[in-house]
Amino acid sequence: MSALLEVSELRAGYGAVRVLQGIDFSVEAGEVVVILGANGAGKTTTLRAISGMIDATGQAVFVGRPIIGRRPEQIAAAGIAHVPQGRGTIVDLTVDDNLRIGAYQRRDSEIASDIDRWYTTFPRLKERHAQQAGSMSGGEQQMLAIARALMARPKLVLLDEPSLGLAPLITQELFRTLGELNRADGISMLIVEQNAGLALKLASRGYVLETGTIVISGSATDLAGNDDVRRAYLGI
């Protein structure tokens, strides 16, 4: 079997504090995988370790190539796009420039047509194309951060709490768009999310992370039916 991303024994932390105690998981091509967990369980750390933002040990193989120990720009070039928590748009740049910087690693001639394409997917961004990113609302900035990640034509998108700080209606719209992107373009996603209900509807598989260890894994429907998951993350 050859997963898109195959992670095993991943350990990472900050200074002397180890957050991840060696976790194993995988993402298949075309799949949406969700990682659930409480605050401080290590969800963000997992994504940061994969995209090379923090030092990590263990194995992570992405399309057949090991990525642990590589620099973030090399990992980005390999085809992983990370949308960090709290939007992470480049606030001083215009919407146009944010999308252009998303394609920094590309040298083909289709960048302009890709920008038009994401403007069709996210019409709100088109209206504000010359505006500074920092002057937009939270939801718009989240759309922009995702569109910018897609500009790199990634094989895998890492999404860190995409619903954080968004109104419920906007969150639903966002997840609908993410689902369409996955179905229509086959973009794989690894999502870390507190809103377990929406995330499990979108995902095909999921993992539950508790204090740096994976305690439950399975298909999204299994997880949604699991009593522990329902009690802890779905509030039922």
Partner: protein, 292 residues
């Protein structure tokens, strides 16, 4: 009126120099968030290089170009070797490191090239024109022309190229830039490199008429600090406008306000204080610049 315009032109001439060095300070600040105390001394060293080349009968403009190239590389090297290891340290530590560089570069330049006054050959003929009784010297014209050229090149580089876009992205949000694959470290080096090259050019042009020695850049640096603060520290446009304001305000007040005779420095700093009281982040600065 002619006297007024003459002083105005002189002010613009010296203001162009402050603007150039302030521009260098802003480039470094925007990328690495550092107030570079050694910026003036880096320019001093570059100017010594110009002198060194001209002594070996290299034509002046070629010597300046060579010094700019070496400074560009040297600036990048300083960022990579001296600044990178303490990039995450407290702002105060960074201030001390650049003060250390200030002392070291100044003293190494004097040991290497000697501490006597060096006379640089002029890069252009020294002429004065008198249209309508207003004195305009070739110094002023060249300094202003060079400043304009710098601004134009910087503008095109930052706003019309892929590297410029990456540079602006890093200045605004290094983490997100890294995640889309921008080599952040190289952009920081580019900021320091461009600053060093601009400083080299400004240093060589402004020092040539007065002679080069160890303390040549220190007063200029003080005025440039004033200009950078007035302009808002993270705005290249602000640095240029404020540099000219500081230069003009300096010459005009010494000419017309006898109360500030011998205390010329009251002017730029009085000006900064006034502006900062009204706008705590400078004329063109963004409000986010609060850390040291």
């Amino acid at each position: 009126m002619a006297l007024f315009l003459t002083q105005l032109m002189n002010g613009i001439g010296s203001g162009a120099v402050y603007a150039s060095i302030a521009l260098a300070l802003v480039l470094v600040f925007r990328t690495t968030g550092i107030l570079n105390f050694a910026q003036g001394e880096m320019a001093l060293y570059s100017t010594y290089l110009v002198w060194f080349f001209t002594q070996r009968s290299v034509p002046v403009w070629i010597a300046i170009l060579l010094a700019m190239i070496i400074s560009f590389i040297g600036g990048a090297a300083i960022e990579r070797i001296l600044i990178r290891p303490v990039e995450q340290a407290s702002p105060l530590v960074l201030v001390i490191v650049t003060i250390g560089m200030f002392l070291a570069i100044n003293s190494i330049a004097q040991v290497q090239f000697g501490n006597d006054i060096k006379i640089l050959p002029r890069a252009y003929p020294n002429k004065t024109w008198l249209p309508g009784g207003v004195q305009i010297s070739s110094d002023t014209l060249v300094l202003v022309g060079v400043l304009l050229a710098e601004c134009l090149i910087l503008y095109l580089l930052l706003n019309r190229t892929r590297i410029g876009l990456a540079f602006r992205a890093v200045a605004s949000n290094p983490e997100s830039s890294r995640l889309v694959g921008v080599p952040v470290g190289r952009m920081l080096m580019l900021g320091w490199a461009m600053a060093a090259a601009i400083g080299a050019l400004a240093g060589a042009l402004v020092i040539a008429p007065v002679g080069l020695q160890g303390a040549s850049m220190q007063e200029i640096l003080v005025y440039s600090f004033a200009a950078a603060a007035l302009g808002g520290f993270d705005s290249p446009l602000g640095a240029v406008v404020a540099g000219l304001i500081v230069g003009v305000a300096g010459t005009l007040t010494t000419q017309y306000l006898h109360a500030v005779h011998d205390i010329e420095l009251v002017v730029p700093f009085g000006l900064i204080l006034l502006v900062l009281l009204v706008r705590p982040s400078g004329l063109f600065g963004s409000r986010r610049v609060e850390r040291v």
